[in-house]
């Protein structure tokens, strides 16, 4: 095993890791921003509002992420209106196409996690808010969402880890993320074992950091442990 090569490749792999981090972080933030209104629509009292995001969630959870990336990267460019629109400078870039696809994909999963958490808030706590004169929207914003976010955190941590690993697909549309960087190095050196091993260790490292961050957030947001029941 060529340990020297692994060490030599580290700077390029680290640059790939940075790209992976950017993809996951930006898509994560955009995904959450998209997920909140989708989740709120899913818990609406009105049946037609609940139905609006059904197709969105069904499509994004029901098709492979790779297909979604290809649809954005290769698909959108097929339309002349897209090519001529002001969005083209963005949609031309593989980087932004990956972020768009990842954001949409993770938003569907995150919305479902959040919906479950919102519905798991004990009804009595919501009643207490309403009984004090809070309008429905205020009770949602002040009581239900803060409660739901705390309950959703563990499941959301899982989603971020899945997203991290899914981000390897960005390498299929020319991006030099961690996997992309590894593949370019291998193309020159023909040493897949060493390079993929090194890349795998770096993915593990990132997963470890995510797990730690989520656990820290959980602890920070949880009320202090009770001495009684």
């Amino acid at each position: 095993m060529d340990v020297a090569l692994m060490v030599d490749s580290l700077p390029r792999l680290a640059r790939g890791m940075l790209t992976t981090f950017e993809l996951v972080a930006l898509s994560g933030v955009a995904g959450v921003l998209l997920a909140v209104p989708v989740a709120l629509a899913r818990v609406s009292r009105r049946a037609w509002v609940r139905a609006v995001p059904l197709g969105y969630i069904f499509f994004l959870r029901g098709t492979p992420l790779l297909v979604q990336i290809f649809l954005v990267y290769y698909g959108l460019g097929q339309f002349e209106t897209v090519r001529e629109s002001f969005l083209w400078p963005v949609l031309r870039e593989a980087y932004w196409c990956a972020i768009i696809a990842f954001s949409l994909n993770t938003s569907a999963y995150t919305a479902e996690i959040l919906r479950g958490a919102i519905q798991a808030v004990p009804p009595g706590e919501v009643e207490a808010a309403r009984a004090l004169g809070m309008p429905r929207a205020m009770a949602m914003r002040r009581i239900v969402l803060p409660r739901a976010v705390r309950m959703a955190l563990p499941a959301y941590g899982n989603e971020v880890i899945l997203m991290l690993k899914g981000s390897a697909l960005a390498s299929t549309i020319t991006l030099l993320d961690l996997t992309g960087a590894a593949r370019t190095i291998i193309a020159k050196t023909y040493k897949p074992l060493e390079i993929f091993l090194a890349a795998g260790v770096l993915y593990l490292l990132m997963t470890f950091v995510i797990v730690r961050l989520v656990r820290w957030a959980e602890r920070r947001l949880a009320p202090p442990a009770g001495s009684r029941s």
């Binding site: 004990p122 009595g124 706590e125 009643e127 207490a128 808010a129 309403r130 009984a131 004090l132 004169g133 809070m134 309008p135 429905r136 205020m138 002040r142 009581i143 803060p146 409660r147 705390r150 947001l221 009320p223 202090p224 442990a225 009770g226 001495s227 009684r228 029941s229």
Partner: protein
């Protein structure tokens, strides 16, 4: 805005002594075709404490929840200090009420739940100041001062920064009572406030409610603590199968019940 005129007067001797603090008219409610309330009415004057008794299934909790529209009755009306909320029939079937009006009404009616329903992610203080700040628009400092005075009153001054899961059941219920009081409500509804408590913790909560009665607050109390009801209430409402079976001054009702049902109910609860 006549409502403000009555609202600010809590002495019971202000300009409108004849307007009851709370009036409930002909409440009908059913679940899945099963009638739970069949036209229940009542009124409470300023400073009156009314006990609502009845065996389980008599509709007493539902009645209380209909008063602040946690359950929407099929028909009926509720008046608080002269402002009336009436259930309208929708042309499409079903029934509707004015949400804004209900929110305004709820801010004037305190509600204390059997299961406390404190918000576990907020400290005791956070639970108490939430609605005064965000519903009434009180400045934070003022809400905190009000909350501290109330915590002192319910004997929890040293617990303001604890979270609900760090409190005993009795402390949780006292915090919940302080949360309701922080809105300075015209009427307070208690829905079996001690039923979820261990027997040794019941006393501290009843003590707080008794002090509120002595202060002259208008209160409706659904309870199974018959001895407490007799001691603290001015009038009693006895419900049976969704109707008022008997009502009157508590002293008379507990001493000489008119109806057989109330007599049997009292006998079985006073054992």
């Amino acid at each position: 805005m006549t409502e403000n005129a009555t609202r600010n007067g809590d002495s019971g001797l202000d300009a409108k002594p004849n307007v009851p603090a709370l009036e409930v008219l002909e409440i009908h409610k059913s679940y899945c075709g099963q009638a739970v309330l069949r036209g229940v009415s009542m009124r409470a004057h300023d400073g009156e404490v009314i006990a609502i008794l009845g065996s389980s299934g008599s509709g007493k909790s539902t009645f209380l929840r209909c008063i602040n529209f946690l359950e929407v009755p099929e028909s009926g009306a509720v008046r608080v200090g002269g402002e009336e909320v009436r259930v309208r029939r929708r042309k499409t079937g079903g029934h509707a009420v004015d949400q804004k009006q209900i929110n305004r009404l709820r801010a004037r009616i305190g509600f204390v739940f059997q299961s406390f329903n404190l918000w576990p992610h907020r400290s005791v203080l956070g639970n108490i100041i939430e609605a005064p700040v965000h519903v009434l628009g009180l400045p934070r400092a003022e809400a905190v001062a009000r909350a501290e005075a109330l915590l002192d009153k319910v004997g929890m001054a040293d617990r303001r920064d604890l979270y609900p899961n760090q409190l005993s059941g009795g402390q949780r219920q006292r915090a919940a009572i302080a949360r309701a009081l922080a809105m300075e409500p015209d009427v307070i509804l208690f829905d079996e406030p001690t039923s979820a408590l261990d027997p040794e913790l019941v006393g501290e909560v009843l003590g707080v409610i008794r002090r509120l009665a002595d202060e002259g607050r208008t209160m409706l109390i659904v309870t199974h603590e018959i001895g407490f009801a007799r001691e603290v209430s001015d009038r009693t409402l006895f419900l049976h199968e969704g109707r008022v079976e008997e009502e009157g001054p508590s002293g008379r009702m507990f001493a000489r019940p008119d109806s057989d049902r109330l007599r049997r109910f009292l006998a079985s609860h006073l054992n």
